[in-house]
Symmetry: C2
Subunit: 242 residues, 2 copies
């Protein structure tokens, strides 16, 4: 009996995820965009020995299997760049992607334009939503963070970082786009390198920043869909609209 | 001697304004865009008998004279919509523009795309930067406000309101764009009607919101250039990039 109840629960979860996936597809009407459902993870930075898995549910969202290339050639040792955990791991830039996938189970998606659908936006801060994005021969880390910079006033911060050196990062432009209810908000910038800490990017405010009220305006039933596009800096001025 | 000193001061001011004007033109590279230098005004809402003039310096910025059309036909009486002052004036929508120009000396600019250059962003909150914008046969009020929603943490709020009814406002889309240092932030929305209070739009957060850190990233020497474009809602999806 318990087995059947659990099966029923799992089927309901799958239907719910599939529903969110279609909702996001409807919002971002451009055909062919991958929609990736990303569940939140509480930051465990202050539990230094724990390296629990980031609970992303990409596979459940019906996405094709992802490939990844390790095209970064700077040989310097870097600490683990996963913003969720105080992980003791150190390694070369070339193996950061494998470490994030294998140890932290962060999913990786391919495609020039994808839709990142963050669920459960109402959860209390600090909360992170994380995915890796493989594009133009490089891997990027997308971090959405809910954080209380000012006590009692949570804000959302979204940024994209290249798993590569700052010099390599200068060759790219990333764009984050929110689009709902005849409102549209776009942020375009050069990604930072993961050699710079994501915490400092967020504390500098050099990223897409949303107040709770704006986040609610763009959310649909507790989920926030962010369109992501990456291009090389040379085509920055001539790029097409999403 | 005093006369010559004053003349010299006035010439220096003009040179400074002209310099800011060219700087903004450089940032917004599209040819033919009007750049309007807008000086801040402290909100005098809590001094109800005073109806001092908003100190905009458009004429000094070398702009052509502006025309205005009163194309609003809703006959209901509205209070003064100037967000700067607690003004006892009431009148029909058709004469709001004349009232704002004549009593509050708010300048009006024409053109589908203009650049709003707000000076002295460092001034303490509450501060407003205001201009009217005549476009597509209607007049719009652009308000940039520095306000401390949370004590000690000033933010910037920018919105555009139609001097017309909510039904008329639904026919338009406005876009505010910040562009500096390889960063770009765009906000697109349907303007609200001035029959709704600008204070409530800002407290709802349904506008472009900037933290101080983001405002500093987009400012140049204390001035913030905001590109403004208005279009009819029908061409919302197919509009050209600035």
């Amino acid at each position: 009996m318990l087995f059947f109840t659990q099966c029923f629960g799992a089927v309901l979860d799958l239907i719910h995820l599939r529903f969110q996936h279609y909702k996001a597809k409807r919002v971002f009407s451009a055909a062919g965009q991958l929609v990736c459902v990303v569940n939140p993870t509480h930051s465990l930075k202050y539990a230094p020995t724990r390296c629990a898995a980031a609970q992303t549910s990409t596979e459940q969202g019906g996405l094709p299997p992802c490939h990844h290339h390790e095209a970064v050639h700077d040989p310097q040792l870097v600490p683990c760049t996963c913003p969720l955990f105080s992980c003791p791991w150190e390694g070369h830039l070339e193996v950061v992607v494998s470490h994030l996938r294998q140890t932290h189970r962060i999913n990786i998606l391919q495609g020039a334009e994808i839709v990142f659908l963050a669920t459960d936006m109402h959860l209390p801060a600090p909360t992170d939503w994380i995915i890796m994005h493989s594009c133009l021969g490089h891997q990027f880390l997308l971090v959405l963070r809910k954080q209380e910079k000012y006590e009692g006033h949570p804000q959302f911060f979204a940024t994209m970082m290249l798993i590569g050196t700052p010099t390599q990062a200068d060759n790219f432009t990333y764009r984050l786009e929110l689009n709902r209810n005849q409102r549209r908000l776009k942020w375009e910038a050069t990604p930072r390198s993961v050699l710079e800490c994501v915490d400092s990017v967020i504390s500098d405010g050099d990223c897409l920043v949303l107040n709770t009220s704006l986040a609610q305006l763009f959310s649909d039933n507790g989920s926030l869909a962010i369109g992501i596009a990456i291009s090389t800096s040379k085509v920055h001025n001539g790029e097409a609209e999403m």
